[in-house]
């Protein structure tokens, strides 16, 4: 199978499991379908040459975050309620918002001048899509010389060092905040 057909199979699986995620009555089933979506997205990341992100996706999202969700669902003993889908007006609104947003997002590719025409296969005047973006060719060459993880580590610890350090403060604040909020008494 070519990479394209694998991508379409995985993409279809991701779409179906995402739909089942929002339509399942039971929150536990919903969470498990979301895990399925995240796993197929991780496989798609491998196809898109982002192996490190795929590993992080499985470890952090499908592992840690979703276990937290399942833990809370089971702690609160949910899942035996009646259906929690909203009534007919909200369903009509959901379909309208979804169709409008999807149309907007798809239309964006058509009306954005120049920058996205690269994706269609070529910029006028450029032989390869990469020539429109010099940084892109450097980025693609980096994994060959540094390995997959080293290629991401270089921008992360050089260009984006300050945001990376601020992230640690964010995580500390989130951990302290979660403990304070979930505590019965201060």
């Amino acid at each position: 199978m070519s990479a394209e057909s694998v991508f379409y199979v995985l993409g279809g699986f991701a779409l179906i499991s995402a739909l089942l995620c929002i339509l399942q009555r039971n929150p536990v089933a919903s969470a498990l379908w979301l895990v399925a979506t995240m796993f197929s997205l991780a496989a798609i990341y491998v196809l898109l040459h982002a192996q490190f992100i795929a590993a992080i996706q499985v470890l952090v999202y499908a592992g840690a975050v979703m276990v937290l969700f399942l833990f809370v669902i089971m702690l609160l003993n949910l899942g035996r309620d009646a259906a929690d889908l909203r009534g007919r007006p909200a369903r009509v609104a959901a379909v309208a918002v979804a169709v409008g947003l999807l149309g907007e997002l798809v239309l964006l590719a058509a009306v954005t001048p120049g920058s996205l025409s690269v994706l269609a296969g070529g910029v006028p005047g450029a032989a390869s899509p990469l020539e429109g973006f010099p940084a892109g060719s450097a980025g693609l060459a980096a994994p060959a010389t540094h390995g997959v993880v080293g290629a991401i580590a270089a921008p992360l610890f050089q260009t984006y060092l300050v945001p990376f350090e601020i992230t640690s403060i964010l995580l500390l604040a989130a951990a302290v905040g979660a403990v304070v909020l979930a505590k019965r008494k201060l």
Binding site: P27, V65, L76, A93, A94, G139, L156, L170, L181
Partner: protein
């Protein structure tokens, strides 16, 4: 490179996430729909990082960190609300409706 199909898949997943937020009343499922939207954005970051450089993958890294922090704080808030109202159904959480 598969950039066009990946962006389309990302748009579809984001739309499903938005529809879920509008459609569901369970606060935890609402949070899961937000996670789905964040994942859709991550997919478009990864797809475009093939052309625009590895900065996109670094952004995915940051989005995942913020999503983890958001999940921790959000679920703690849901726990606190559940302790007061004994439900996570948004129909019954209407203190601001006057």
């Amino acid at each position: 490179m598969l950039i066009g199909p990946a962006l389309l898949l990302s748009a579809l997943l984001f739309t499903i996430g938005v529809a879920g937020v509008v459609l569901r009343r369970n606060a935890i499922v609402l949070f899961m729909c937000v996670e789905l939207m964040l994942n859709a954005v991550n997919l478009s970051f990864v797809a475009l990082s093939q052309v625009l450089g590895l900065g996109g993958q670094v952004m995915v890294f940051f989005v995942m960190t913020v999503a983890a922090a958001e999940a921790a704080v959000g679920l703690a808030i849901i726990l606190a609300i559940f302790r007061h109202t004994r439900t996570v159904d948004l129909k019954n959480i209407n203190l601001l409706q006057g």
